[in-house]
């Protein structure tokens, strides 16, 4: 190919940029590692090469070659690498631990290289295949200078797509999965599909870039698609800043420029330029991970949208007075405040019937039955190991009961996973909070809002206006819930920078954002100062008055006596007594059991 040397260098860098930003979507946003970047880049390149080939290798041997035009080859490359991505990611996406994805992508890389270098009839083997040049509708790109503007546009397009996905609600969901997948499932969000989709999108963009690079170089051979390339791209993402698209662009340009610079150092032979480049970026990667693990441009520096400061400072610090009104209006539009039914008259929302569960020889829960009514606060108390948290695990589907069942609104929850349980209106507040540390308080709460149009990736592109309107509503709702718990002034702060008590309140706001009718609270006041505890107590009481059913596991008898309409006293997996606060606290046998005197 003719054209200037400088243009060729720039073109090689555009490929690196496109690969880096697409990997950032997976590695930075979704927090999943892929070692198959080079393999998908190569898969796209070979698909395009085979579909556009004229049926002859460089050495003249016959290969398969339907002779499609370039755009046909590009389209087939996108489809094949997208599907290939789904196939590789699907088994790993079900696992919470990311090691399976590293394993499968690494295996896929070796599989790809083996096939590319040995299936001579299809790929031309080690000699590769000649590829026709890039061309559209009769116009052909034959020099590096002509190609530059097209390749620059492609890299810019891929960067924009990744940036757009990253800032969409779908991108927020990916970041939530990265921070704590179990917490996201407990909010009623599916995690397998978004993870697989992120992987397939990354694979498709790498494949398309591969197809374009193959047509640009007019040649494919297996040595181009080495594991070193996969590491190089990962280094660009890690050093630029995972979760920051601009960072990947900058890092890819800088690292991509290393090789041509080294090639022109007079004391180096051109053979040693490539290993020197590898030594340098490998060392920078190591140093970067040790000294600056969040990269050159950390996430949130530029890419994250900031909520306008004025809007936040306008919110009064404590909104206790309006709390009841806002919560009540939203969740129970049909019920006036005064007409909330007395708990004992209304029919129960949740029925727990004969639940039993053993772990090995230990009977953790024995034949437990109880009801939760609308507007009622029921406290589960008992000594440590009585089975309280196990009951929550059984009710939310985190573990399966040996016997018995739970019904919600009259429907059985048998076989439902935590995500399905949360979707049907029963949400859980974790003892260990499970905040999403890397996200802002506002995004922590926004992610709890159910049924967001923008969490559908296709909608993000096909109906951007609708998604933008929905997102404005989601953010308004999230801010309202932060106001409810009284920490709206901290809406923009990263959750990990908040005090523990504030994190608990953020988690509370997130729970409220789900709109769940039944709330299971696991030690909501443990580990917070008395002031925050009082705030949480007031909040829980207000929620019950608005008609929600609340089941609370709590060690603090102060909290229990402040809140509970009814107490279930548990010991050794069974309910020993049930009654009002007075009835329980005046029974000497239970008090002895509880305090172990």
């Amino acid at each position: 190919m003719g054209g200037s040397y400088i243009a060729d260098l720039a073109n090689q860098i555009t490929f690196l940029v496109a690969l880096a930003v697409s990997l950032n979507l997976l590695l930075g946003f979704a927090g999943q590692m892929s070692m198959a970047t080079a393999a998908f880049y190569g898969l796209g390149a070979y698909t395009c090469a085979i579909m556009t080939a004229q049926g002859m290798t460089l050495t003249g041997a016959a290969v398969i070659g339907p002779g499609w035009p370039f755009l046909g080859g590009l389209a087939s490359a996108i489809v094949v690498s997208f599907v290939g991505g789904l196939v590789v990611a699907a088994p790993a996406a079900r696992r919470v631990r990311g090691d399976y994805l590293i394993l499968l992508t690494l295996a896929f890389h070796f599989l790809f290289v083996t096939i590319a270098s040995s299936w001579v009839g299809l790929t031309g083997g080690p000699n590769g295949i000649v590829v026709p040049p890039i061309g559209f509708f009769g116009y052909e790109i034959n020099t590096t200078d002509q190609a530059f503007w097209f390749l620059l546009a492609w890299a810019a397009f891929v960067s924009l797509v990744c940036w757009w996905i990253g800032r969409s609600p779908f991108g927020r969901l990916l970041r939530g999965i990265r921070e704590d997948e179990i917490a996201i499932q407990a909010l009623g969000k599916r995690t397998i599909a978004p993870k697989s989709l992120a992987f397939a999108m990354t694979a498709a963009m790498a494949g398309a870039t591969g197809a374009i690079s193959a047509a640009y170089m007019q040649f494919v051979a297996p040595t181009t698609y080495s594991l070193d390339l996969a590491i190089l791209v990962a280094a660009c993402v890690a050093l630029g800043g995972p979760g920051n698209i601009l960072g990947s662009v900058v890092a890819a340009i800088v690292i991509g420029a290393l090789r041509p610079i080294l090639e022109n150092v007079p004391s180096l032979s051109s053979d040693s330029a490539v290993p020197w480049q590898t030594v340098i970026y490998g060392s920078i990667l190591v140093a970067g991970m040790v000294f600056r693990p969040r990269g050159l441009l950390p996430e949130g520096l530029i890419a994250m949208r900031r909520f306008p400061r004025e809007a936040i400072s306008a919110v009064p610090r404590v909104v206790q007075a309006t709390l009841l009104k806002t919560v009540g209006e939203r969740d129970q539009p049909a019920l006036a405040k005064s007409s909330v039914p007395s708990p004992m008259i209304a029919s129960p929302i949740v029925r727990v019937r004969n639940l039993s569960k053993s772990f090995g020889g230990l009977q953790a829960v024995k034949d437990v039955s109880f009801d939760l009514h609308p507007g009622e606060i029921v406290a589960l108390i008992g000594p440590n190991g009585a089975g309280k948290s196990t009951i929550f695990n059984l009710m939310t589907g985190a573990i399966r009961p040996d016997q018995g069942e739970v019904t919600l609104h009259g429907q059985s929850l048998a076989g439902a996973d935590p995500c399905a349980v949360a979707r049907s209106g029963m949400a859980r507040y974790f003892q260990h909070v499970r905040i999403l540390p890397g996200l802002s308080a506002l995004n922590n709460v926004a992610i709890g809002v159910p049924r967001q149009a923008g969490e559908n990736l296709a909608m993000t592109f096909l109906a951007p206006m609708r998604v933008a309107r929905g997102e404005a509503e989601v953010r308004a709702e999230a801010l309202r819930q932060l106001e409810n718990v009284g920490i709206a002034p901290h809406a923009n702060r990263t959750a990990q920078d908040l005090a523990f008590g504030q994190q608990k309140l953020v988690a509370f706001a997130r729970l409220l954002a789900t709109g769940a009718q039944v709330l299971l609270l696991d030690e909501p006041t443990s580990g917070v100062d008395p002031q925050a505890a009082d705030q949480i107590i007031a909040l829980v009481r207000t929620l019950a008055q608005s008609g929600k059913s609340i089941c609370i596991v709590e060690h603090s008898l102060h909290v229990v006596s402040e809140l509970a309409d009814r107490i279930l006293f548990m010991n050794a997996g069974a309910i020993m007594a049930e009654g009002t606060v007075e009835a329980i606290t005046t029974r000497p046998d239970l008090v002895d059991l509880y305090f172990g005197t």
Binding site: L103, L106, I231, A235, S272, W276, V279, L285, V290
Partner: protein
């Protein structure tokens, strides 16, 4: 029948090598939760150490083997002590430790290429001979490789299950926080498993170098097979990892009977997918055993 026996013999030889690699990766991965891809650099350094001692310095092959094992252990310990330990102390995520490991893997192989050049290095001189055991033909080197691999795995197995230090390793593997709470020096255990695991890889690298050649990226494929072996056999125990390595070896050898060698790689990938989907704990489930 004769062909079957011959294939079984090759399967054992191949499987023992993969089992050794799987066990070495397992020891490091399971104990420290480090996806230690830089194991490939350790492996390549061991191969070149044999070349330096036995060819460049002209010393005996025994010293070369010794140099392989010692240099591998030193490299593994150094990577853990200089790189991973400060990162763990700073609370680095598993992903950033993996990325640092990738950096070492890339830079290390390239550095070896700069030092020794891109050409492969041979270490000749093993008094090899072909042995005829009934209808089975193997080389003396193959028998020695398989024997050393199996013996090493067995010794490490005994070490983990029968000694006090081995119990400490198991404790760190199953619950590092609790292990630290009862006074086990977790960081020292970590360096120890890096040392032992790397020495095991060094032994495998020595045999590969004297059987074939040493080259800068020689460690990638063996580590890859080791990783696959671990996940295939089971991440819960060294027996699982070793079993996975043997299964891998037999799969590759036996698929050669019906398929071309490259289709064997596809078969391995297919088996791996099936195992990850239907038995994510691996073929050998053992939640608490060693």
């Amino acid at each position: 029948m004769n062909q079957l026996l011959q294939l079984i013999a090759f399967g054992i030889v191949q499987g023992a090598t993969y089992a050794l690699l799987a066990a070495s990766f397992w020891l490091i991965y399971a104990t420290t939760r480090t996806f230690h891809l830089a194991h490939s650099v350790t492996y390549a350094v061991a191969g070149y150490a044999a070349f330096v001692i036995s060819v460049q310095l002209g010393l005996s092959l025994w010293l070369g083997a010794f140099a392989s094992v010692i240099s591998a252990a030193a490299v593994g310990c150094a990577i853990d002590a200089i790189l991973y330990r400060p990162m763990r102390a700073r609370g680095a995520s598993v992903l950033s430790i993996f990325l640092a490991s990738l950096g070492v893997a890339a830079a290390g192989a390239a550095a070896l290429q700069l030092i020794f050049g891109p050409l492969v290095k041979q270490v000749p001189g093993f008094p090899n001979a072909t042995l005829y055991l009934g209808s089975v033909t193997v080389t003396r080197l193959q028998v020695l490789t398989a024997f050393c691999a199996a013996a090493t795995i067995f010794l490490v197995f005994l070490f983990i299950t029968r000694t006090r230090t081995g119990n400490a390793i198991t404790a760190v593997r199953t619950n590092p926080t609790m292990a630290m709470a009862v006074g086990i020096p977790v960081e020292r255990i970590s360096v120890l498993v890096f040392g032992i695991g790397s020495a095991m890889a060094g032994l495998a690298a020595f045999f590969e170098t004297i059987s074939f050649v040493a080259y800068p990226t020689m460690g990638l494929q063996p580590v890859m097979f080791g990783v696959i072996g671990v996940f295939l056999g089971g991440i819960g125990s060294i027996r699982g990892a070793a079993l996975g390595g043997f299964v891998l070896g037999f799969l590759l050898v036996f698929s050669g009977l019906f398929l071309s060698q490259n289709l064997g790689v596809i078969l391995v990938f297919a088996v791996l997918l099936v195992v990850v989907v239907f038995r994510p704990e691996g073929l050998l489930r053992s939640p608490s055993g060693a």
